[in-house]
Amino acid sequence: MFTDETLDALGVESLWRKSQQFAQESRGCQTRPVHTAEAEIQPLLNADNGTQTDPQDHLIYQLPPKGELRPESPGLRDFLHRVEDMVVKELASNAKSHAFDGFDVNWEDQNETVSCIHCLQHPSAQEKGLQVTSISWSCTGSVIACAFGRVDDGDWSTEKSCVCTWNLDRRGLNPKRPDMVIDVARPVMSLSFHPSQPSLIAGGLYSGEVVVWDTNRTQDLILAQTGMSTDTHREPVYQRSEQVCFQVAWVPGPRRGEMVVLSAGSGGRVLLWTVDSDEGRLVLSAGFALIRQQVPHNSALSKNRGSSNVGVTSLALSPWDLDTFLVGSESGLVLKCSFSAQTLAAAPPDGESVTLRAPAQFSFSPRGGPVHSLHCSPFHRNLFVSVGTDGLAHLHSLLQPDPLLSLRVSDSYVFGVRWSPTRPLLFAAATGQGLVQIFDLGRKSLRPAATLDQLTGGQPVYCLEFNPRRKDLLAVGNADGSVNIWHLSTELTEQGPRETAKLEQLANEVAE
């Protein structure tokens, strides 16, 4: 009668409660795949450095907090009050005093005389009649390198020549036997030691090639060379002559600490080469071409026919402005040029791998003949001196075309000029008569302060260089194949008290 039963559950839906769910939309997004890359670096050199600021009361320059005047250092006013009268009295009497007139102190041994301490020769080069075309001191000042070649040969020379180095600080110095002789297939016209690595020498050859030697190597000293590619100083084949490379120099490269080789030649090209020591090549990185029509203010020389290239015979870098360089040409032009010039050169492309630019910005008054040497003053940013075949030395300011001063150096050609590295008013010039004339601009007379006779029997002196470290040494290269090292007197090397001021005065004179 009674049984168990289970009933289904009963559900009652709510009438008033609605579903709370509204319309729903879903969206999703995702960024594009993220690019990742992994790279590892390892520094080769480590350096640790720490800094710490000084505690507040030790700071030298304290800016006063805004809106409040800090009190002066306590007692400063009273201190100045106490000492002012005494100091002013001393200053005034010092300005009038003659007590120290002519008073000189000898801290070092005075050297009264100028003497030739070494006469370096390479007998086998001298036998062949080779001349010293260029000399260069290493950056340490102990090694002198000289290049042999010929300056007076008109035509293409296939003569073998050499580059010799002597280390003057070595005990067993034999002036007749160089420490190192590098044989070169062509005459070398220009030589330049690397400014910070004492073993690298750059040389410019008669054939237009540029070579860099590394004297640290035992075999095959050539570190890099240009080779006979179309990039070297080479005029088109139909002209049948090659450009002579007259000047090489090391200039700072685009990357910090890197130096590139600059070469300038008779074809009017100024080229910059990067040293690729792995491949042993000099790679052309930039080039400039000097074309007569692109030289500013060039009315005087437009009468010349012939090649439109401006052959470069000398070049000078400015130690003050790394962008400026000066160029002297075969026709007597002296030009101020810039490494950052952007104008393209109007030269027909010769297969070079870089576009050539025209660097000339300013033209100084032209000389009567080829400009053999230029040098910028290490003591004044605007001054430079130039010499050429007219026998005169012109002192120029970079700011005006006419020279400030014109000195007669010799009756014949002048081949080299260099400013003294220690005396602002002194420069030395090498003449075609075998003399080195040293001029002191502080003297009233325009005659040379000293004359060094190279005893070459009247043969010319082609080059001269002051030692960058030892201020009393001057090296002179002669046409008879010898290099003389001169020891200068104290008078020619010690800077006088007012020399920089006098140089400044000279530079500011306007030429009449």
């Binding site: 030790h58 030298i60 007692g75 106490r82 005494m86 200053l91 010092n94 008290p497």
Partner: protein
């Protein structure tokens, strides 16, 4: 009261500058440096790097000169120091709290 103190400070500051100007105006004066007792420059007419160089070196020199004078005679003391060189002369007026350094080129 605050206003009065500010005026005094201004007056003091102007006096210091006036004094320095008077000294600077003497013939041949190239630069003036005032150094405090610890050798730290507090006023200068030269550029930063020269100032720091002069201050450090001259402070040591003055200390040495003073001890030399007092070692010779303990009752004596340094009043003035002049260093004459080829190119110029450095005059130093020492004191308890400050040194006054004046660089003069007498032939200018």
């Amino acid at each position: 009261v605050t206003v009065l103190i500010h005026h005094c400070i201004l007056y003091k500051k102007a006096e210091v500058e006036e004094t320095l100007k008077r000294i600077q105006g003497q013939k041949g004066v190239q630069g003036i440096i005032i150094v405090n007792a610890e050798g730290i420059p507090i006023k200068t007419t030269l550029d930063n790097s020269s100032t720091v160089q002069y201050a450090g070196l001259i402070h040591q020199l003055v200390m040495k000169a003073r001890s030399t004078v007092r070692d010779i005679d303990p009752q004596n003391d340094l009043t003035f120091l002049r260093v004459r060189s080829k190119k110029n002369e450095i005059m130093i007026a020492p004191d308890k709290d400050y040194f006054l350094i004046v660089i003069q080129n007498p032939s200018d």
